[in-house]
C-alpha cells in the first residue's frame, strides 16, 4: 500500500474521530457521577434517574415528539401530492414552483424564524404550539417534495398510461400503481420530515411560548443558565434516537445517490 493511500485512510479516520469524539464524550459524561464533569470517571445512572423524575423535560419531550409526528403527517401528505403533480403535469410556471422550494431550505433559519414570529403576531396567532407546528411543516415540506421527486424520477410513466388505458380512473391509478412504487421515497421523506421537526431549534425558539417549549428550546435555555448533567443525559438520548432514525432512513433512501 502506498504512503498516499495510508495518508488517505488516516485522514478519513481523523475526520471520523473529530465528528464522533465529542458526542461520545458527552454520552460518557452522562454516566459520570460528578455534576461538573470531573474526572476520574465514576459510573452512575443518577442523571438518568433525575431525568426520569424531571416533569418539565418529560413534558417538553412529549411535546416535541407530538409536534414532529403531526408535522411529519401533514408535510408527507401535502409534499407527496405536490411531488406527484410536479412529476405528472407540464405547465407554465413549473420551474418557478420548483425554485420556490429552495428559500425555506437555503435562507438561514434565523431570518425565517423571526419573519414567522412577526407575521404570526400580525395575524393574531402569536406564539405557541400551533405557530411552531405551522413553521415546522413549512421547513419539512421542501425535503419531502425533493425526496419523493427523486424516487419518482425512476418511475416508468407508461405504467400509469397502461393502467389508464385499461380503464382505471386517476385516483385508482395513483393508489394502485404510483403510490406502491414511490412508497420507499414517501417513507424516507416522512422520516426526514420527522427529523427536521424533532431536531429543529431556531424556528421553535422564536415561535414557542415560554413554558410551552420544545425539547431543543428547553435544552438551550438550560445550557445558557449553566450546565446540568440531566441535560447531558437527555441530549445523549436525543442524539442516539436521531442517529438511529437516520440509519432507518438510509435503508429507504440512498444518500450517496447510488446503490
Amino acid at each position: 500500500m502506498s504512503g498516499l493511500r495510508i495518508a488517505g485512510y488516516a485522514w478519513l479516520a481523523l475526520v471520523l474521530v473529530f465528528l464522533y469524539a465529542p458526542i461520545f464524550v458527552m454520552a460518557a459524561m452522562s454516566f459520570n457521577a460528578s455534576p461538573f464533569y470531573q474526572l476520574p470517571f465514576e459510573a452512575s445512572f443518577r442523571w438518568y434517574e433525575d431525568l426520569a423524575a424531571n416533569t418539565a423535560i418529560r413534558a417538553a419531550a412529549t411535546r416535541s415528539v407530538l409536534i414532529a409526528l403531526a408535522a411529519m403527517t401533514i408535510a408527507t401528505v401535502l409534499g407527496t401530492a405536490a411531488a406527484l403533480a410536479l412529476f405528472r403535469y407540464d405547465f407554465r410556471g413549473k420551474r418557478v414552483l420548483q425554485v420556490l422550494l429552495f428559500p425555506p431550505i437555503a435562507i438561514p433559519w434565523l431570518i425565517t424564524g423571526t419573519a414567522m414570529l412577526i407575521f404570526f403576531f400580525a395575524i393574531g396567532l402569536g406564539r405557541g404550539t400551533p405557530a411552531v407546528l405551522i413553521g415546522h411543516v413549512a421547513l419539512a415540506l421542501p425535503y419531502v417534495i425533493v425526496v419523493v421527486n427523486a424516487r419518482l424520477a425512476s418511475f416508468d410513466r407508461t405504467l400509469e398510461e397502461a393502467a389508464r388505458a385499461l380503464g382505471a380512473g386517476p385516483w385508482t391509478v395513483t393508489r394502485r400503481v404510483t403510490l406502491p412504487w414511490i412508497a420507499p421515497g414517501v417513507v424516507a421523506g416522512a422520516l426526514f420530515a420527522f427529523a427536521v421537526s424533532f431536531d429543529q431549534f431556531v424556528v421553535s425558539y422564536f415561535l414557542a411560548k415560554p413554558g410551552d417549549a420544545t425539547l431543543p428550546v428547553l435544552i438551550y435555555t438550560a445550557i445558557r443558565k449553566g450546565f446540568t448533567p440531566e441535560i447531558n443525559a437527555v441530549s445523549t438520548l436525543i442524539i442516539g434516537a436521531s442517529m438511529a432514525l437516520m440509519l432507518v432512513v438510509a435503508r429507504f433512501f440512498s444518500f450517496g445517490g447510488h446503490r
Binding site: 405536490a82 415540506l141 431536531d199 438551550y220 445550557i223
Partner: protein, 287 residues
C-alpha cells in the same frame, strides 16, 4: 409541452399543488413580506404606541457602524468556517469516492454524514463539555503532554469556529463526494497512462470536474454560518457577539422588532445576493 393541460388535468394539478404551496406561502413567503413591511415602521403595529413609516431602522445600520462591523465579523466567521470545511472535507470526500470501494464505502459515507442529520444544538453542547476549562480535552492532553495543559479554548472565537466546522463539515463532504464519484475512473486511468502524475491529475482533472460540488457545499455552509447565533452564544462567551446574536437580541431581549426586522432583512439581502451569484454553480452542483 408547457401550458398544454386540459381543464380536467389543470384542476387535478392545481388540487395536488395548492395545499403545499399555500402552506409555504402562509408560513414562509408572507412572513418574509411582513418582515420587509415591519422594517419600515417606527413600532410594532399591535402595541399601544403610534405607528409611522420610517427609514430609521435602515439608517441605524449605516449610522453607527456597529452593525456593519458585526456583519463583517459574521462574514469573516463564515469564510473561516467554509475554508476549514473545504480543507478538511474535500480530501475526505476524495478518499471516500476514489480510494475506498464497495460496501465499506457506503458504510463509511453514511458514518460521515450521520451526525449532520442529528441534533445540531446537542452537538454544539457536546463541544462545550469537551472544551471547558479542566475539561476532557485538557485532561486528555495532560496524559500525553508533560505539565499542566491550559488551552483555554472555551468561550473564545476558536471554540465557535470548531463547533461550526463540526456542524457543517458533512455538507461539503456530501456535495464533493457526489461530484467526485460522478467522475469516470477510466478518465483518471487514461490520464495516468499518458504519464500524468498524481498532482497533475488532481489539479487538471479531478478538481475542475468536481469544483461545482465543492462550491455548492461551500455556499451551503457559508449562508447559515453568517446567520448563526446559537453556536456563538454557547461556545463564544463574551466573544460570542455576532450579527446573528444581535438580531436574536432584538426579538427576545430588547424587543425592538422593527430594528430586528431591518437587520434580518439586510442579512437576507446579503444571503440572496450570494445565492443569486452562485445559483449557476448550485444548480450544477446539486443535480
Amino acid at each position: 409541452m408547457a401550458g398544454t393541460l386540459n381543464a380536467g388535468e389543470g384542476r387535478r394539478a392545481a388540487g395536488l399543488l395548492a395545499p403545499a404551496y399555500l402552506w409555504l406561502t402562509l408560513a414562509v413567503f408572507m412572513p418574509l413580506s411582513a418582515m420587509l413591511f415591519f422594517s419600515f415602521l417606527t413600532a410594532p403595529p399591535f402595541g399601544n404606541e403610534p405607528v409611522a413609516a420610517t427609514l430609521a431602522n435602515y439608517f441605524a445600520f449605516f449610522e453607527t457602524g456597529t452593525y456593519g462591523r458585526l456583519l463583517w465579523k459574521s462574514v469573516k466567521l463564515g469564510l473561516w468556517v467554509t475554508g476549514l470545511c473545504i480543507l478538511i472535507g474535500y480530501p475526505c470526500a476524495l478518499v471516500l469516492a476514489k480510494q475506498i470501494r464497495g460496501r465499506a464505502r457506503e458504510a463509511l459515507f453514511l458514518l460521515v454524514i450521520l451526525p449532520f442529520w442529528s441534533n445540531s444544538l446537542v452537538r454544539i453542547f457536546s463541544w462545550a463539555i469537551v472544551l471547558r476549562g479542566n475539561g476532557v480535552l485538557e485532561r486528555a492532553l495532560d496524559l500525553v503532554w508533560p505539565g499542566d495543559v491550559r488551552l483555554g479554548l472555551m468561550f473564545t472565537p476558536a471554540a465557535v469556529v470548531i463547533g461550526l466546522v463540526h456542524s457543517y463539515l458533512p455538507y461539503v463532504i456530501l456535495t464533493s463526494y457526489l461530484a467526485l464519484q460522478a467522475i469516470d475512473d477510466d478518465i483518471i486511468a487514461a490520464a495516468r497512462s499518458l504519464g500524468a502524475g498524481r498532482l497533475t491529475i488532481l489539479r487538471r482533472l479531478v478538481l475542475p470536474l468536481s469544483l461545482s460540488g465543492l462550491l455548492a457545499g461551500a455556499v451551503l455552509i457559508f449562508v447559515p454560518v453568517v446567520g448563526s447565533f446559537m453556536e456563538p452564544r454557547i461556545l463564544g462567551g463574551r466573544f460570542g457577539t455576532y450579527y446573528g446574536t444581535v438580531v436574536e437580541d432584538q426579538f427576545v431581549a430588547v424587543f425592538n422588532w422593527p430594528l430586528g426586522a431591518a437587520l434580518s432583512f439586510i442579512l437576507l439581502a446579503v444571503v440572496l445576493l450570494i445565492l443569486a451569484l452562485s445559483s449557476p454553480i448550485l444548480r450544477k452542483g446539486l443535480q
